[in-house]
Symmetry: C2
Subunit: 347 residues, 2 copies
């Protein structure tokens, strides 16, 4: 049923139950079924009604499931479908830029069909010569995050020594490949043997290690970076950041993309080695991808040929079927790690 | 005795006893008297023999009295005179740039007479129309630190909201006055009522507070910066930095000059709020004045007229007599705070 003729259909939804501290549990969301009329209401100027095809599960979403004060993004509404980015097909539209049959990506909901009114978050998909799910990964927000965070914040140069934490995640795997393309030495950390294997054998990192097997992160970093680190792409925070600060080189740069090791904690861990910033003249800078959407066309021009020529690869972790979103062992396991954009396809 | 004719004279010295943890004590140094021949030895190419006139006591020196691994500056040698910057008169010279009678500033020792061989740290004093002691303060390393740390690292703009910790110190008092000259709103913190009075009434800060009287630094900052902080000139670290991170504005800048609250601790305090860097896109950057000595002539061109026109004032804390350096109550009290460059004159 994709006709958009106004038929009323059942709409399976994943509902966010309520804010909860600690690790997210399956019981923090539930499946329900409502109904939806497959037509944009007449009073909904610029609205777009879509069928969701792929939905992504990204680390920043964890912070929308907590009541964070002063966050850059509003908390989710308990009792409503979970919000997130998705790839979708337009079934009906009152927006001049989108027509029935178009494929789009942007903010939608964890449900089969969504009426999108915040259409400023949408992008039309032009190049369908790649997997559509890539538009919530390498060709979407995580891709642009990696691109902006590495090129705009890190000021990288050929031959520099680059360390990436949560390196097999949607962003990390790309940062590492961008750095390799530039001629950097690249090491990543991740939380399992499989991820470490991916980093070394699939993404072409020079080396990688499982941080969970290292009793002394400072010693591990000294092993992989005897001459120190020029660029640290920060995804985890906490103890890893503390160890990295001890191993940065003169005029090193730390691009702070996120601190996922801290998102389930009531009180973030303390970082003790910030005094290293001074003698080493380190620049540490936080960024949000929202400031760089103007670079999106430039990014696509760079990355699409790389994908098609096999110079950059992208690994997704996908669960089939919306009903499997909350209960999939993948999701449950990976929420605290957020190691990869997970698509949920149900076309 | 200033003739430089090679006479052997007595040379009072302040000797650094040994590395010690915790707050520095009077007993960590002692006074002795040796002898010195007032002539540069023939085999000492480029050496300069000086009579020290003013010696400065700066926060960075605390870290030379600890065995810090990987510090940018070597630890002091126990049993030797304390090293530090001073203003001195040349008594004899084998260096082509300096001749008898010249006044210089740079790295010298806590003693009456010094044979300086590391002459690359020396600057000749040309403008003697200001107090000579200013060359270890506003016209020396602390002045250039304030200038580079504010203008080069903070990218300040007129009207921005500036917070300075340890604000009555040699550097802080200047950063605040530079920011006021630029048209910023400036608030400083310091550790006593007298210092707070200086900030408000002498240095022209818009406001100031005694951090020791604030139970809740976050609340204090919200009182003085209801709209947040654009620029934080960081001198103290620890709890103050944590509170500042909660109060930074979008695209705020933190110039990390030092973290004096941490220098007497075995293990630095943890900073918990670094995740604020991300949503607020904060840039935090450490710097050392050594990278900016090429700006020295430009800085003097700016600051000398300001001093002479009374647009910038400078307050020193001076103890008379080298023998009073270790035991002066000023020094003892201020070591843990380092609130001000202290001169020690004995001309």
């Amino acid at each position: 049923m994709e006709s958009g003729d106004g038929e009323v259909v059942r709409n399976k939804q994943v509902i966010f139950k309520d804010y909860a501290p600690g690790a997210l549990k399956e019981s923090d969301m539930y499946i329900t079924t409502s109904t939806i009329k497959l037509k944009v209401p007449e009073d909904c100027t610029n609205g777009v009604l879509v069928k969701n095809l792929y939905l992504s599960c990204d680390p920043y979403m964890r912070n929308r499931m907590r009541k964070l004060q002063g966050s850059y993004i509003a908390p989710l509404n308990p009792g409503s479908p979970i919000c997130g980015r998705g790839v979708a097909k337009v079934l009906d539209s009152r927006h001049p830029d989108y027509k029935k049959g178009d494929f789009i990506w942007g903010m939608t909901g964890w449900e089969e069909y969504s009426l999108i009114t915040a259409t400023e978050t949408l992008f039309k998909i032009h190049d369908k010569d790649v997997p559509l799910s890539y538009y919530i990964g390498i060709l979407g927000m995580p891709g642009l995050t990696a691109y902006a965070g590495f090129y705009e914040i890190c000021s990288p140069k050929k031959g520099e020594l680059v360390f990436i934490s949560a390196a097999s995640g949607a962003v990390g795997q790309l940062v590492g490949q961008f750095a390799k393309l530039l001629g950097c030495y690249v090491v990543g950390s991740a939380g399992s043997k499989d991820k470490v294997d991916l980093l070394k054998n699939k993404f072409g990192f020079d080396d990688a290690f499982n941080y969970k097997e290292e009793m002394d992160l400072d010693a591990a970093l000294k092993r992989y970076f005897p001459d120190g680190i020029d660029i640290y792409f920060e995804n985890v925070g906490g103890n890893m950041l503390d160890a990295v600060l001890l191993n940065m080189r003169l005029r090193g740069r730390i691009s702070v993309c996120g601190m996922v090791s801290q998102y389930n904690l009531e009180q973030p861990e303390g970082v003790h080695n910030l005094m290293s910033l001074v003698p080493k003249r380190i620049r540490m800078e936080g960024f949000l991808v929202y400031d760089y959407f103007h670079l999106f066309p430039k990014y696509l021009d760079m990355v699409l040929p790389c994908i098609k020529q096999g110079k950059i690869v992208y690994v997704e972790d996908t669960a089939e079927g919306l009903e499997n979103a909350p209960c999939s062992s993948n999701w449950t396991l990976q929420w605290p790690q957020y190691w990869k954009t997970s698509g949920c396809s149900f076309s």
